[in-house]
């Protein structure tokens, strides 16, 4: 050990000892925060399987908070982040959400990446009157009044643009839908099938593999023999890489058999090596390549914050949006309680990196701009199609929700 | 007992109906017949010694009797009950107790606990559900311990006992089981001369109340307990008779010719 590292080590261990020695177990008065601070929870996994993506979301949330604090904070108070690591396990998400909501008494948690983790947090925020700001695009089918779905796309915002585009622009008519085995891909598949029916496109397959599954050979050969001329992928996580690589190894080419994904962000492309994703399409409201001054400054700011080789992606942009729109709602309400935020956030607009987003007052989801990107050799995506105006969120599109016939309203969901 | 010679072979004709009978008992390992066509009749209360060279199939025979090994052919009868392949536990319950060559006891338990487990005649789970165990030995356990010289060691862990004491403990456990038939695999192995004498005495003592089947190498010991002897050779019964008869049996001598082991083995 050099002198320097030993000193660091000593410092680290002293800090650690101090950290361990002061748990606030005892109920000697509930925790009091300094009057000029507002505690906020940040809860993204720093360890475990989904840490890869969630680490960058954690950084982005901190960056957004730093920016707000630099501008003078919220209601004249600084935001003070309390960071928890739920270790990619729903069980621990629930536990940490309890700690934040009940013990630390934060008025808001910015957190979660997977729906399974959100479901574990849901009972906590609903019964203990907390607020979760949820960032990830997901299957919808939820209508909680304790969750602000800021910047998170729902199926209609990823599918209404892309599936007709595959038919019209690429001339493809036989769709194979493939996904990891959980609610999001299944919800996406249902909405996809409805859309396909409406536009007269055939669905030749709808298959799932367990999350984290990395043996894709059978599935790829199934796709090959199904006669499909286009693939829609709702595969997530580690499986994405194995899936794309298997397609390549079995000799498929995205020019002949195009693939459009709802989940493959810049992070996954970087992880698999851009050559394997080259030419594949992705449908999401945000890509690092969105060509606006607003986004350029966001990307620059994040690279300055997290390192030059980091990439920005949709879930992260939604985190950024979520923190900011929460702060706007707090300013408008003059209060940070979940009720005040929920009552005031409807109709608020934020000039996000992707463009203008607006919170829907009925379902607390966000109007977003659907985009389709095509992967290029450097691992970023060229935007090949985008809407001129943001599209309304319809979280229950999988069971037939339309703009005129809402299922999720301020009164809750009526199925 | 009457000894008759049929075709040069000596067969024991028991006076009382035999308590243990085997018929054509055969087992093969990889087509090699370890025990082959054994017909054994053991009378009630008899003390029977089985001898034979290494690999003659003596231990395998005991394994077949107590259910450790399943026979390829043949049957085992306990009085008029066919106990072939009914499982070790059921065989034990029907009245056969087995002591192994290397003592197998419950090492992490005390001597008393070992005896308690052995003497407990309720064997089903639900019978035992509400059974408490006493910290003290009952009369029966004291008696067995006394007989085997373990009275002073009741509260010691079995793992702390000497090898000889372990042999005694296993014997004590088999006795606590109160079996009709006791199978003993080289009970005197590893014992001092004094202990061997004591064992011989005990075996003679046991015979009568129990039927005892002993495997032994030590001819001195065999002579000491000197009852009917069965000689096994290459998996089959070669001869049966008293010690004296056996030592002069031409077939036995021929089988052991050159090896000259009978008197020492």
């Amino acid at each position: 050990m050099t002198k320097q590292t030993r000193r660091t080590f000593l410092k680290v261990s002293t800090l650690a000892a101090a950290g361990l020695a002061t748990p606030s177990i005892l109920r000697l008065g509930d925790r009091a925060w300094a009057a000029d601070e507002i505690p906020v929870g940040i809860m993204y996994s720093l360890t475990g399987t989904t840490a890869i993506v969630e680490k960058s979301m954690n950084q982005c949330a901190q960056m957004a908070i730093d920016e707000i604090n630099a501008r003078g904070g919220v209601l004249g108070k600084k935001l003070r982040p309390i960071i928890e690591d739920p270790a990619s396990e729903p069980r621990i998400y629930g536990e940490k959400a309890r700690k934040l909501t009940i013990e630390d008494q934060v008025p808001v948690i910015f957190g979660c990446y997977t729906t399974a983790s959100r479901k574990a947090v849901l009972p906590v925020v609903e019964k203990r009157n907390g607020l979760l700001v949820w960032p990830t695009w997901y299957e919808g089918e939820e209508c909680s009044k304790n969750v602000l779905y800021a910047g998170s796309a729902v199926p209609n915002q990823q599918l209404e643009n892309s599936i007709p585009w595959l038919q019209k622009k690429l001339g493809k008519n036989k769709l194979f839908i493939v996904g990891s085995d959980y609610a999001f891909p299944r919800g996406m598949a249902k909405t996809s099938k409805t859309i396909c029916q409406n536009i007269g496109m055939g669905v030749v397959g709808d298959e799932y593999l367990p999350l984290g599954h990395t043996e894709w050979a059978s599935m790829v050969s199934k796709i090959g023999s199904s006669g499909a001329d286009v693939i829609f992928s709702n595969v997530v996580g580690d499986s994405i890489v194995a899936f794309y690589r298997e397609l390549r190894n079995q000799g498929y080419d995205f020019e002949k058999l195009p693939l459009c994904s709802s989940t493959t962000t810049e992070v996954e492309i970087k992880a698999m090596g851009a050559e394997y994703a080259l030419g594949s399409y992705v449908s999401l409201p945000y890509f690092q390549t969105v060509d606006t001054p607003r986004n350029k400054s966001f990307v620059e700011a994040f690279k300055a914050y997290a390192g030059a080789d980091s990439v920005t992606h949709a879930a992260m942009e939604a985190v950024y949006t979520g923190v900011n729109i929460w702060a706007m709602a707090a300013e408008k309400a003059g209060d940070v309680t979940p009720e005040a935020i929920v009552a005031n956030v409807g109709g608020l607009s934020f000039d996000a990196p992707q463009g203008k987003i607006t919170i829907d007052p009925q379902n607390l989801h966000s109007s977003l701009t659907p985009r389709i990107g095509k992967t290029r050799a450097d691992g970023l995506l060229d935007i090949v199609d985008q809407y001129a105006e943001p599209l309304l969120p319809l979280p229950y599109s999988s069971v037939g929700e339309t703009a005129d016939k809402r299922i999720c309203t301020t009164a809750g969901a009526t199925l | 007992m009457l000894m008759t010679a049929i075709d040069g072979k000596q067969v024991v004709q028991p006076l009382s109906p035999p308590i243990l009978r085997t018929r054509n008992l055969t087992v093969r390992f990889d087509e090699f017949p370890a025990v082959h066509g054994v017909n054994l009749d053991v009378a009630d209360g008899e003390l029977r010694v089985v001898i034979g060279a290494n690999g003659a199939g003596k231990s395998t025979l005991l394994d077949l009797l107590c259910g450790k090994t399943l026979p390829s052919e043949g049957e085992v009868w306990l009085r008029d009950e066919n106990i072939t392949s009914i499982g070790e536990a059921a065989i034990a319950r029907s009245g056969i107790g087995r002591k192994f060559q290397t003592p197998t006891v419950f090492k992490e338990m005390t001597v008393l606990e070992n005896l308690q487990v052995a003497s407990n005649r309720r064997v089903r789970v639900f019978e035992n559900l509400f059974q408490r165990i006493s910290a003290r030995a009952n009369d029966k356990e004291v008696a067995v311990a006394e007989r085997t010289g373990l009275l002073d060691s009741l509260n010691r862990k079995a793992s702390e006992l000497s090898h000889g004491q372990l042999q005694w403990l296993e014997l004590a456990m088999v006795l606590s089981q109160e079996p009709k038939i006791i199978l003993l695999d080289e009970p005197a192995a590893g014992m001092t001369a004094a202990e061997t004498d004591k064992t011989a005495g005990l075996l003679l003592d046991l015979a009568g109340d129990h039927t005892v089947l002993v495997i032994e190498h030590d001819m001195a010991f065999v002579r000491q307990i000197c009852r009917t002897i069965t000689v096994m050779h290459q998996g089959s019964v070669l001869a049966e008779g008293t010690a004296e008869e056996i030592e002069h049996n031409p077939a036995v001598i021929e089988a052991y010719l050159g090896s000259a082991t009978l008197s020492h083995a």
């Binding site: 800090l15 360890t47 928890e84 621990i92 009940i102 013990e103 609610a183 | 536990a89």
Partner: protein
């Protein structure tokens, strides 16, 4: 009889330890805020789990690495009842409405394939009973084939592990029936005779503590009696026990089922403190964690296993909440596995016992 005296001392000491432990648990809520009350209750649930492991592994030498399967089944059974008790899921759980065919009848009988299986769970009592019985029956089936074929040792561990994996996969794969990967999360609070258990209040805490107390007393009664003695004998030498006339398989099956029932009970209580049930409860890593809780506290000591579960989880949560310890916590945990096994195979309870029991010559490992 110096030996006897020393035993007495150890006996008295463990009695004191038991009393002190439960006395502490009883007064604890007076000093805890609602978050820590809930967290402690959850950790005590883990203690019950460790207790189940200790019963089968420590006392009978059966190391199940699929305990999470039974825990998860227990959690699901109660969660199904509590799902139906939630007004938002009346008459049919929302998860089924989202997964049904558009023209299906909106009734539990036939809204999705197999949804009729939920019908009995309209009565909470069914959920509660099933939470213990279903894991027991499952264990009976698995145990029957395993033990009748005389599977032992590591084979048992790996087979149970494989069963847990299958269970997890099947639950995930049948989303319209089970909620799939996301599990069941919109649950009502448990209400018995009009009394509502609050996950954050002392009511659940005491429910868990008293259950723990009941389980530990029952386990002690069972294991200090004849059955425990025979199990210990089986652990020491299975064949010997057989030649003494015991049907070894039945004893193993019995304790395996009891252990599964205890895990199921813990699973139900987990549903109450954490308000959800998910397939991740059946994950291999969670099952193995349970084993290490028991190993740390002392595999062959019931109280030890409880304390082990509390300690490992408590330290774990503190470590994960301190920024400096968080990245090295898995290493500490992994190191703990190795350390416990190498250095203190009988866990904390073993050290406690050695302290009173110096004379017992070479230290040996129980329940290999």
């Amino acid at each position: 009889m110096r030996m006897m005296e020393e035993r007495m001392t150890y006996r008295t000491a463990s009695l004191v330890a038991y009393v002190a432990f439960f006395a502490l648990l009883m007064v604890l809520p007076f000093f805890l805020n609602s978050f820590w009350t809930n967290r402690m209750a959850t950790y005590l649930v883990y203690s019950i789990c460790a207790l189940g492991i200790s019963m089968s592994w420590g006392y009978a030498g059966i190391l199940s690495l699929g305990q999470g399967l039974f825990f998860g089944m227990g959690a699901y059974m109660l969660a199904m009842s509590l799902t139906l008790a939630d007004p938002g899921n009346n008459p049919v759980p929302e998860l089924m409405l989202l997964n049904m065919e558009p023209d299906a009848v909106r009734d539990l009988c036939c809204v999705t394939t197999g949804s009729f299986l939920w019908i009995p769970f309209r009565w909470v009592i069914v959920g509660i009973l099933a939470g213990i019985l279903v894991p027991c029956i499952l264990a009976a089936v698995i145990g029957y084939v395993m033990f009748k074929r005389r599977t032992t040792g590591v084979y048992v561990s790996i087979i149970t592990l494989a069963f847990a994996l299958i269970g997890q996969l099947l639950i995930i794969n049948n989303q319209p029936l089970t909620g799939g990967f996301n599990g069941l999360a919109s649950l009502a609070s448990l209400e018995i005779f009009g009394f509502e258990f609050d996950p954050y209040g002392p009511s659940i805490y005491y429910l868990v503590t008293l259950t723990l107390l009941a389980v530990i007393l029952l386990a002690r009664y069972l294991l200090s009696g004849r059955v425990g003695q025979v199990l210990k004998a089986i652990r020491e030498d299975e064949a010997r026990a057989r030649y003494l006339g015991y049907d070894v398989e039945n004893y193993k099956l019995f304790i395996f089922c009891v252990s599964a029932g205890v895990a199921g009970l813990a699973g139900m209580l987990f549903t109450l403190t954490s308000e959800f049930a998910a397939p991740s409860l059946m994950a291999t890593s969670f099952s193995i964690s349970m084993v290490i809780w028991a190993a740390t506290g002392g595999r062959a000591s019931l109280l030890g296993a409880c304390i082990g579960a509390l300690l490992v989880n408590f330290i774990g949560s503190l470590a994960s909440e301190s920024a400096t310890f968080q990245p090295v916590w898995p290493i500490i945990l992994g190191g703990l596995f190795v350390f416990v096994v190498l250095v203190m195979p009988n866990g904390i309870a073993g050290i406690f016992k050695d302290f009173f029991d110096r004379r017992s010559a070479p230290r040996t490992v129980e329940g290999r």
